[in-house]
């Protein structure tokens, strides 16, 4: 797993771990904490084409619903089935076992680095 320092981020509080042409995507610890205890995760299907910035899924806590945006454009190659059955993993390990999907990248928009993301959340 790539360290949080090396990950890229979006303003929608997602992290992107790009390895060659594949990006692993999850939500940040900040986002997970703001949502509260996550009780339901809906992810796109494997093979779905996704466009950067579009809604591809959602995360529900007891209190609220958060939308999941595709941080990059490409094709979904894998989704994390474990979070569907145990959504609490997103809270307990958002940067690890709580990853959400993998996308074969065709296009990557400009993403935030760790420092820029921390600036955004006021945690710098």
């Amino acid at each position: 797993m790539t360290g949080e320092q090396e990950l890229k981020y979006t303003a929608e509080h997602e992290w992107v771990d790009a390895d060659g042409d594949t990006a692993t995507v999850g939500i940040t610890a900040y986002a997970a904490a703001r949502l509260g205890d996550i009780v339901y995760v809906e992810l796109p299907g494997v093979g779905d084409e996704v466009t950067a910035g579009s809604v591809v899924g959602e995360l529900e806590s007891t209190k609220s619903v958060g939308e999941l945006y595709a941080p990059v454009t490409g094709v979904v190659t894998e989704v994390n089935d474990e979070v569907a059955s145990s959504p609490e993993v997103v809270n307990s390990d958002p940067f690890g076992a709580g990853w959400l999907l993998r996308v074969r990248i065709t296009e990557t928009p400009e993403l935030l680095d760790h420092a820029a993301y921390q600036q955004l959340t006021g945690e710098a």
Binding site: R34, G36, D37, V39, Y40, E42, E60, T62, K63, V65
Partner: protein
């Protein structure tokens, strides 16, 4: 943006704010206050109230005292129900109505003496309720005092609440601190919707067996300056038995499971009590005239939406504002909904056309029809426990 670690500095803060911060609270804006949303996991807080006990800071609630020889009569004229018939030491759940029979607020009224009542209002309605009580009390020998600044409120709710409260220490039945054992006896014998006027470390306290969670529990009214001391005492006493602080997030799922209405969701100025399942509060035999009487006693339920409980399968929940459908027709609207932490499936309260209650219903969850079944409220009942 509000900093969840510290809360919005523009908002009012509880006397326990620093205590909450030290407990790791995340704060949320609520009716002008910055109050704890949760301390860690709201699901764990919810579970603790169901299995052990939870401690709540309710400093945001409004406490309005109505006193004078005609205080009871003034409240009869101002509120639903015969408040003047409530005995000292007892509490009553009631509503303040507007002239059209709609709900201004839901209230618990505690009779603290022959000529003295404590009216507890929702934070968002405190000023409205105080102003309405003042104007509705004109002509009666009574006085209305908004004492919200001088009365603090904690709640301890859950199956272990009594055990913890009897072990905290510092309580006494009267000003003489040697009456601690007497206090414990009185508290143990205290029944639902009754309260004790007692003492805590030499200061007056009301200990009421009331709450908003569906569990046995207590609400404690005392001077705001004493809140941190009592909070810490309860936390220390309860730490070994799983008592945790509980924020507003779990408070909402607890009351929803218990089928208790929330002002702003299930109760609004357009809601008549009968629609909300509160028709029992409308007593035709009440002799005193009261605001909203004609509208509420003449209410014709035909065709008027009624509050129902809905359950669904899976984990996706209908939420406030989502449409309820029967086929293609919108026949209702969800007022509160969540995945029930205790039951493990989604629950919701919704207003539904009476003709559609027996139909095959579905909640429209952002475009997906989630089949829903009408069930009696409450969703959750506390298990009978042996004493």
């Amino acid at each position: 943006m509000t900093d969840p670690e510290h809360g919005d500095p523009e908002r009012r803060r509880s006397p326990l704010h620093e205590v909450h911060a030290a407990e790791g609270a995340t704060f949320t804006d609520f009716a002008g206050w910055s109050m704890p949303l949760k301390y860690g996991s709201e699901l764990a807080e919810h579970a603790a109230v169901r299995t052990a006990a939870g401690l709540f800071d309710l400093s945001h609630m409004g406490e309005i005292v109505v006193l004078g020889p005609e205080a009871g009569e003034a409240l009869d004229a101002a509120l639903l129900g015969e408040i003047s018939a409530v005995e000292t030491g007892r509490a009553k759940y009631t509503l303040m109505l507007n002239g059209e029979g709609g709900v201004v607020d839901d209230l618990v009224v505690y009779r603290t003496g022959p000529d003295r009542f404590l009216v507890v209002a929702n934070a968002s309605n405190r000023e409205t309720v105080a102003a309405e009580l003042r104007s509705r009390a004109v002509g009666f020998q009574t006085e209305v005092q908004d004492e919200s600044e001088d009365i603090g409120l904690l709640a301890l709710q859950g199956p272990l609440a009594l055990d913890v409260l009897t072990e905290v220490g510092g309580f006494s039945a009267d000003q003489d601190e040697r009456t601690e054992q007497r206090f414990v006896e009185l508290l143990t014998a205290l029944r639902n919707y009754r309260f004790l006027a007692a003492w805590y470390r030499g200061h007056p306290i009301l200990v009421a067996r009331t709450g908003y969670t569906g569990e046995i529990g207590y609400e404690l009214f005392l001077a705001p300056a004493l809140l941190p001391q009592l909070w810490r005492a309860i936390r220390e006493t309860g730490a070994g038995s799983g008592v945790v602080p509980v924020g507003l997030a779990a408070r909402d799922t607890l009351r929803l499971e218990a089928g208790m209405p929330l002002y702003g969701n299930e109760l609004t100025p357009l809601t008549r009590p009968q629609q909300a399942g509160l028709g029992r509060l409308v007593r035709g035999e009440k002799t005193a005239d009261y605001v909203g009487r004609d509208a509420v006693e003449g209410f014709d339920p035909a065709g008027q939406r009624i509050l129902v409980g809905l359950t669904c399968e899976g984990r996706r929940a209908g939420r406030h504002g989502y449409p309820v459908r029967a086929g293609d027709d919108v026949v209702g609207e969800v007022t509160s909904g969540a995945l029930s932490p205790s039951l493990g499936h989604p629950i919701a309260m919704a207003y539904v056309d009476p003709a559609a209650v027996a139909a095959d219903l579905a909640i429209d969850v952002r475009g997906t029809a989630l089949p829903a079944r009408v069930v009696p409220l409450p969703f959750y009942k506390r298990p009978e426990r042996k004493a």
